[in-house]
């Protein structure tokens, strides 16, 4: 616990990496002490900004004011809207069957996306395949992820446990390392802490899988360094 508290200063000045930040934000929900400390340190950081003030070019003012004129301010956050942010974690029971992503309305782009039963059975087939191999990663804060792959089925499944939600406006995206092609998207992960998901693409040719943090909607290729890498060992013919 004390270890998590110690991140408050680095959090207040944005000096945590994406995963640490997600883990600390989850801690903040439960820790009033850290919330108060972060607030006071952000006030302090704002004072540091006094020392770097520089007048912007005058034309920037016109651009900013012209820009805002075309944007509608969001309504205030009502109690209901505040609760919604944490809803995905309450819906974990359904996680195994989730094929649609909550944040940003990203749609899982696979032919079986609209057929959950088919995905569930494909997941079972991979998890129970005689040639199934496993690779796991642990994250700070107790989260973990395991990729199970089957050469004979050419498919892989990722299972996450206690995964902190990605930073706001971001998603976790999973990739296959395909020799000769580089990192190929295996899909955007639905925002749930405990997830079981069949990955898109051919797992039998992949040498590894990785997770990166990407802007909502996912990316064509990884834009950040992976937060987790799963090496596929012993993929012999």
């Amino acid at each position: 616990m004390t270890d998590v508290h110690a991140l408050s200063g680095a959090y207040a000045v944005d000096a945590l990496d994406d995963l640490e930040r997600a883990a600390f934000e989850r801690h903040l929900v439960e820790c009033a002490e850290c919330r108060a400390e972060v607030a006071s340190l952000r006030e302090t950081a704002a004072l540091i900004a006094e020392t770097t003030a520089v007048a912007p070019p005058p034309e920037l003012r016109d651009r900013v004011l012209a820009g805002i004129a075309t944007v509608r301010p969001l309504p205030p956050q009502t109690p209901a809207a505040t609760v919604r942010r944490h809803r995905p974690r309450l819906l974990l029971a359904a996680a195994a069957a989730v094929v649609l992503v909550g944040a940003g309305g990203i749609v899982w782009q696979e032919p079986w996306a609209d057929d959950t039963s088919q995905q569930v059975s494909a997941v079972d087939a991979v998890l129970t395949a005689p040639d199934a191999g496993k690779a796991s990663e642990e994250f700070p804060g107790g989260a973990s992820a395991t990729v199970t792959y089957s050469n004979s089925l050419g498919k892989a499944v990722i299972e996450t446990h206690d995964m902190p939600p990605p930073p706001e406006g971001k998603v976790y995206q999973i990739w296959f390392d395909q020799p000769g092609k580089g990192m190929v998207s295996a899909g955007v992960m639905p925002v749930v802490a405990d997830l079981t998901l069949l990955l898109a693409g051919d797992a039998s040719t992949a040498t590894a899988a990785g997770i990166t943090v990407e802007p909502e909607g996912g990316s064509e290729e990884p834009t950040t360094t992976p937060i987790a890498l799963f090496e596929f060992a012993g993929q012999d013919a």
Binding site: E50, T51, T52, A53
Partner: protein, 200 residues
């Protein structure tokens, strides 16, 4: 006089003691779509927003983009600002800082990373951009408080907040064991907070 004020005339002064309340009110009105109120908010805070963006991203053109994106976000989400959770200025600079940091990290910022360590390692008060900084009483008070930190605290806080580096990067840059930099950053920020009389 050395009270250089690069803020358009007529803007509320951040030193007049009532600016906090004014900013909160301007932000509240902005949340209701009041464009003239937002223009006043811009005039009162643009130097700090732009200055922070320049200090973190370094490239003035990119800093302008960060400033523009930040003010757009501030306008869009003004209605969600909750005065109970912090001052308007802190809220607005938190948005700015996040955008600046996102910019340098996602761009991999090759040129910036190539910049010599020496440059980043200069004490905040001698930084080149600081020459153009607003010489307000508040800035001087903050520089005094920064100078009172231990050297490693001052460097860790400076690299993290003004350099936009992660605590792990800061640890490497300062030759600290991994895991120590976050403690230095926190210690330094707490000491600064207490020296500046920020209520906790």
């Amino acid at each position: 006089m050395d009270h250089i004020r690069p803020v358009p005339a007529g803007a509320p002064s951040p030193e007049d003691g009532t600016s906090g309340t004014d900013l909160t009110d301007l932000l509240r009105r902005s949340g209701r779509g009041d464009e003239p109120a937002f223009a006043l908010l811009y005039d009162a805070t643009a130097a700090r927003v732009f200055g922070l963006a320049v200090r973190v991203v370094r490239d003035p053109a990119q800093a302008e983009e960060v400033t523009q994106e930040s003010f757009l976000e501030i306008w869009r989400t003004a209605g969600r600002y909750d005065p109970d959770r912090g001052s308007a200025l802190s809220w607005l600079l938190t948005i700015t800082h996040r955008k600046a940091v996102d910019r340098v990290r996602s761009a991999e910022a090759a040129s910036r990373r190539d910049t010599s360590y020496q440059q980043h390692n200069q004490p905040v008060e001698h930084d080149s951009t600081a020459e153009a900084a607003e010489a307000s009483l508040e800035a001087r008070r903050v520089r005094g408080a920064l100078a009172a930190l231990t050297e490693v605290q001052r460097e860790a806080v400076g690299l993290a907040y003004l350099g936009g580096y992660t605590h792990t990067e800061v640890a490497t840059m300062l030759d600290l064991p991994v895991g120590t930099a976050k403690t230095r950053i926190r210690d330094g920020m707490i000491r600064l907070r207490d020296a500046l009389g920020v209520s906790s």
